[in-house]
Amino acid sequence: MIGDRIYLDYAATTPVDEQVMAKMTPYFRDYFGNPSSSHFYGQKAETAVEDAREIVARCLGSSESEIVFTSGGSESDNLAIRGVGLAKLEKKGANRILTTPVEHHAVLHTVIQLAQYFGFMIEFLPVDSTGMVDLDDLRAFLRDDVALVSIIYANNEIGTVNPIEEIGKLCRERNIPFHTDAVQAAAHLSMISVSTYADLVSIGAHKFYGPKGVGALFIKNGVELIPVQTGGGQEFGYRAGTQNTPYIVGLAAALTLTQSDIQKRATQSQYLRDRIINGVLADVPKSRLTGHPHIRLPNHASFAFKNVDGNKLLMMLDSAGYACSSGSACKVGDPKPSDVLEAIGLSPAWAFGSLRVTVGVHTTVDEVDRFLKTLPELVQKARAAG
């Protein structure tokens, strides 16, 4: 069954790379020790965790003491925002958080909680119709009472890549901590200089052929942060709990595999991405690209189809053997247009009909062509079904 199927949802998650699996395996049984233990077993595990930290630090151009392992991108976002927000509130009384309306929910919902329970003010930077932040807007919003700026590196739904380097520099000029959710970006863009312009960077392993349930947060030296999860003082006291050694090993292995091959992978995916974009826009009536036409993730194509129930289209695609995603994806039959699609100004007639097609290292030209051949007919059916 699975053999006939075509997976085009790499932005949702990716299969674990075989080399990564091989590196992880010994840490489940052979070297299963607790990294905090002082004996042989503990030291083996600790070495693995610290080696992994070194590898991740190298990929992000940072020092090892700036890398904290977490349970994934969402936890990294939570730790960065809640941790810095609360630290700032205590020290300086800065209570504004500057973010965008196109963040991942891990950022958005954390910020909203800070506003509801801790008295923070949220300010949303405007984004243009491609979902991109404007630097002049940012300049106008950066004031001394801003505790933290959090802006997504590359958007998961519409693929647009923000000018993170410039944003980071502006924040640094004003000495305001800048967090970026690089969960999508780390799988496709070079992260080697990210530490020179961002103060906090979230990544999650399963977007780049690592395991689910493990991530990391880069925390620039000197940035003050209150731990969210307290306990045994692991991870420099920022994140308590026995480290998940095999998964941390997996994250490091996957990140270094991806980052060392980033240009080649980007070129390959971009070819497939553009084939999808051109094919869909040519063959599907009343279709448009969402997100930026070219400043976007190299593996990411996203569309809106007018008067189409995107949820229904997804189910039809699944039945035909194609796994994709939608901005209004919903498993309980109560779809709503996503915050992101509303923020970029899509009217409901378009926003309900969104489709995200993301490719990866295993995607072939043949798979893309089969998809392109099937899609127009299914869109037409989904449109007629109303």
């Binding site: 039945s319 309980v332 039959g333 059916k381 079904a385």
Partner: protein
């Protein structure tokens, strides 16, 4: 040859779960679909037919059976057709049965069309009724389990739809269905069997109507059959034929609603012996075999879902209408409800009750 693809309407309950399991066992390629139906704003999770728990349950069953599962949004369609008909029915002093509309327009309409778009050629549910193919026509029969029979609520389905339908559990008794669930390792949890309408979330329909229409709340006179004014009613929509309680009358003998006269906004009440009619006129006729068997025939009819069978003479008036002359007086013939005609096990057809009277 490719397997026949069957879509099963799932509810998370034991009946549709067993329906899906039986189809998988019979070698079909099965897709599970659950409808998301409408509820009043703020009550989204309390629709009896699709609570989050029920949806999670259905999803688990599908996973255990190894079939794909999808939730289909039918909120707008359900509201625009089923809820609107319900409100309009009561506004015209009828007593509609929304479950029939739901079956006709949502389950065997919206859902079935979607199933076909997914590539399904057959559509199944967990209803208790049976289907038999005879000379190219598909006939609808009462369930093996008389207590559970749901042929009444399926009687509105046209022949083309019946031909594409499979009703796996109608061939079993409820006890057998529970045993089958056990055999497949499925939960036998089920929704409370209830006459309540799913979108009322267990609350009174009168309050629902008050929130959604002004027409039913127009007060008027209560009279007896002699035309004597006995009191005032709150709006015809709040009363049903045969109702005794809540009339607010201080009469020496118990009084029953015997007629709702919409054109005069008049509620007619009478004593027990005045209640009951032996004639009804039905319209919007449908016939399982596309045509009535003969212009006039004897049969048994049901005048509401849970009514007992009543013998009578059916007289077909035209394509749309027929009349029923009952052998005995029936106490609660209610305009707006469906009258369904049976010939033994077989459903012959049905119509919507327009009016009734006592021929004496």
């Amino acid at each position: 040859m490719r397997q026949t693809v069957v879509a099963v309407g799932m509810s998370g309950g034991v009946d549709s779960s067993v329906a899906a399991a039986l189809l998988v066992e019979q070698g079909y390629s099965v897709i599970g679909i659950m409808l998301r139906l409408w509820s009043e704003p703020g009550q989204e999770d309390s629709n009896r037919c699709c609570t989050p728990d029920a949806m999670a349950q259905a999803r688990r069953v599908a996973a255990k059976l190894g079939i794909p599962f999808y939730a289909l949004n039918a909120q707008k369609k359900f509201h625009d057709i089923v809820v609107q008909n319900f409100i309009e029915g009561y506004s015209s002093s009828l007593t509609p049965n929304p479950c029939l509309d739901c079956n006709q327009f949502i389950r065997w309409g919206h859902l079935m069309r979607f199933a076909e778009d997914l590539g399904a050629t057959k559509f199944a549910t967990g209803h208790y009724a049976r289907l038999r193919s005879i000379n190219g026509n598909t006939f609808l029969l009462r369930a093996k389990d008389d207590q559970k029979d749901q042929s009444y609520v399926l009687s509105v389905l046209p022949q083309e739809k019946l031909q594409k339908t499979i009703l796996p559990v109608g061939e079993y008794t409820k006890t057998e269905v529970r045993e089958i669930a056990h055999r497949f390792g499925l939960s036998v949890a089920e929704r409370q069997e209830s006459q309540d309408l799913c979108f009322l979330a267990g609350k009174d329909y009168r309050q629902f109507l008050q929130r959604h229409t002004t027409k039913v709340v127009e007060p008027g006179k209560i009279e007896n059959s002699k035309g004597e004014v006995l009191g005032e009613h709150q709006g015809l929509g709040f009363y049903t034929i045969g109702q005794r309680k809540g009339l607010g009358l201080s009469t020496s003998r118990p009084m029953y609603v015997i007629e709702k006269r919409a054109q005069d906004n008049l509620l007619v009440v009478g004593e027990g012996h005045e209640l009951g009619n032996n004639y009804l006129l039905a319209h919007l006729a449908t016939w399982i075999g596309r045509e009535p068997p003969t212009p006039q025939f004897r049969a048994e009819v049901k005048i509401r879902y849970k009514a007992t069978f009543a013998p009578g003479l059916i007289n077909v008036l035209d394509k749309d209408r027929f009349e029923v002359k009952f052998d005995y007086v029936a106490r609660d013939i209610t305009p707006g409800q469906r009258v369904v005609i049976y010939d033994g096990e077989f459903v012959v057809g049905g119509g919507t009750i327009q009016s009734s009277k006592n021929l004496g």
